[in-house]
Amino acid sequence: MKIGPSLIIGGALFALAIFVGVFAPWLAHTDPVMDANLMNAEEPPSWTWWFGTDAQGRDIYSRVVYGARISLTVGIVSQLVNSVIGTTLGLTAGYWAGWWDDFVNGLTNLMLAIPSLIFALAIMAVLGPGLTSLLIALGLTNWSFTCRIARASTLSLKSQGYVQAARVLGYGDLRIMITQLLPNMLGPIIVIATLGMGAAVLAEAALSFLGLGIRPPYPSWGSMLSEARDQITTAPWLSIFPGLAIFLTVLGLNLLGDGLRDILDPQSRSRRT
């Protein structure tokens, strides 16, 4: 097993984002919402204000640090929901086949036909803005790829000797799926989940930017960028730092996903090199 630079750099960036999110209250200099002071409005980055201040005089560094909590919560939780839905549907469809398989296939095709950001936008329109709505919207719209992989893995695994043996030993369907099939398909599913987390962080930022996700004054990186747009000429630092935070977090997740793929999905490695 070779640990490549992607895995190390990606893992380090993701670990840094998690660290910042978890220890935000200790790392932040001020309260990200309450500590507004118009006397300090639109200060450029300096030793006092590391990332500068916004139009209300709030410390951008503290807001970026707290923003990590929202972005990572959305990324991790929504992708977890996607992975559970996708794996359950794909595993059961591949195992039971018949009408259930046809139904799941139809559902997957439907999901693939509607661009996921537009689907999420429609769900947000129905549920209204907020963290819970974001988790639901992003958790329900990006499972089709996981489902396809889980289904394909199940189809190839279920005829294997050890699965047949488990059946002969009297294992029930559920037990075979959980103890025999699931552990053998986890590799590619973890890889997709890592990449999907990055996509969810970007989607959260996009929806918040459009005014449908996290609403100001709460510090989400997307909503901070939305607020920053009008001050791009007078205070460009308002746009630079939240965008950089999104970029580094998603870059970390994408590199981590690539690195994990080389280790957990050896078939794809042989395809790639």
Binding site: G106, N109, L110, L112, A113, I114, P115, S116, L117, I118, L121, A122, I123, M124, A125, V126, G198, L202, A205, A206, F209, L210, G211, L212, G222, L225, A228, R229, I232, T233, P236, S239, I240, P242, G243, I246, F247, V250, L251, L253, N254, L255, D258, R271, R272, T273
Partner: protein, 307 residues
């Protein structure tokens, strides 16, 4: 080929119907009636009259039946806000979106495919490492952030291009939005092309061609490129869907008068017929583009039979 095209069109009908159903059902369960949101004073009599006007007093299944029947005639209903036919609104907005999406994809193909090719010809080299790093970076960037930075640099600082708007529809207005939108397909195309070329380079027929003494240029031109094209074309087709989605954000950032900004504005104003209509048209465009790509497979690779 004609029978294949007809069969493929027929195959997409259930998907289109399912999308119509999902979009309709989704907006029929909106908590808090649209009418309550629209009438400021909450007078029950006014609400009742508005419901009747908008046809919302009928049961859901009757509304769905009417909606499908109207859709079949190309009628998307009337906008709750502007009272304009949604079909007219969509017709005005479709061309700018298609212009933007195709320009972004053309930009991505022109940059991404050669980048992937060069990377694959010397795997592990400096160009390979650099281009793959650029590719991952492009995928990790929030489109609107990149757009903001490009706008700041090229429009506000250097003054080379207009910062937003459609203007007279000329190329200079299209450049910044198209480049912003095209960055993530560049990354994906570069990565896919690299993977495809690497795989084809190690295939038996390439080894055979080389052992027969065929020059490297001819091997790449005749064997590798043609075989990689099918995979590249598939990626292009699938990426159109993602681009249609991301166009929403880019259009909003650059005040581009396309379907995406119509969708966001309608969502924010709870204009249900306009939201339903724009989503359906986006899905329709995506399915249509993929149908065309399916038909192109056979032109590029004669081994693919339309059976």
């Amino acid at each position: 080929m004609l029978s294949f095209a007809i069969r493929r069109i027929l195959q997409t009908i259930p998907t289109v119907l399912a999308v119509v159903l999902v979009v309709f059902v989704l907006f029929s369960i909106v908590p808090g009636s649209i009418v309550t949101n629209m009438s400021d004073d909450g007078d029950p009599q006014i609400e009742e009259r508005m419901k009747k006007q908008l046809g919302l007093d009928q049961p859901v299944y009757v509304r769905f039946g009417t909606y499908i029947a109207k859709l079949a005639m190309g009628d998307f209903g009337t906008s709750f806000r502007t009272r304009e036919p949604v079909t007219t609104m969509i017709a005005k907005r479709s061309w700018p979106t298609l212009q933007l999406v195709f320009a972004a994809m053309a930009f991505a193909v022109v940059i991404g495919v050669p980048l992937g090719f060069i990377a694959a010809l010397k795997p592990g080299g400096i160009i390979d490492t650099f281009s793959m790093f650029v590719a991952v970076s492009g995928l990790s960037m929030a489109k609107f952030w990149l757009g903001l930075l490009l706008m700041y640099l090229f429009a506000l600082k250097l003054g080379w291009l207009p910062s937003f708007g459609y203007g007279d529809g000329s190329l200079k207005y299209l450049i910044l939005p198209a480049v912003t939108l095209g960055v993530s397909p560049i990354s994906l195309l570069a990565r896919t092309t690299r993977a495809a070329v690497l795989e084809i380079m190690s295939a038996d027929f390439v080894r055979t061609a080389r052992s027969k003494g065929m020059s490297e240029t001819r091997v790449v031109k005749w064997h590798v490129t043609r075989n990689a094209l099918v995979i590249i074309l598939t990626t292009v087709g699938l990426q159109f869907g993602a681009l249609m989605g991301q166009a929403v954000v880019v259009e909003k950032l650059f005040s581009w008068p396309g379907l995406g900004s119509l969708l966001v504005d309608s969502v924010l104003q709870r204009d249900v017929p306009a939201v339903q209509g724009s989503i359906l048209v986006v899905v329709f465009f995506f399915l249509a583009i993929n149908l065309v790509i399916d038909l192109l497979y056979g032109v590029i690779d004669p081994r693919i039979r339309y059976s």
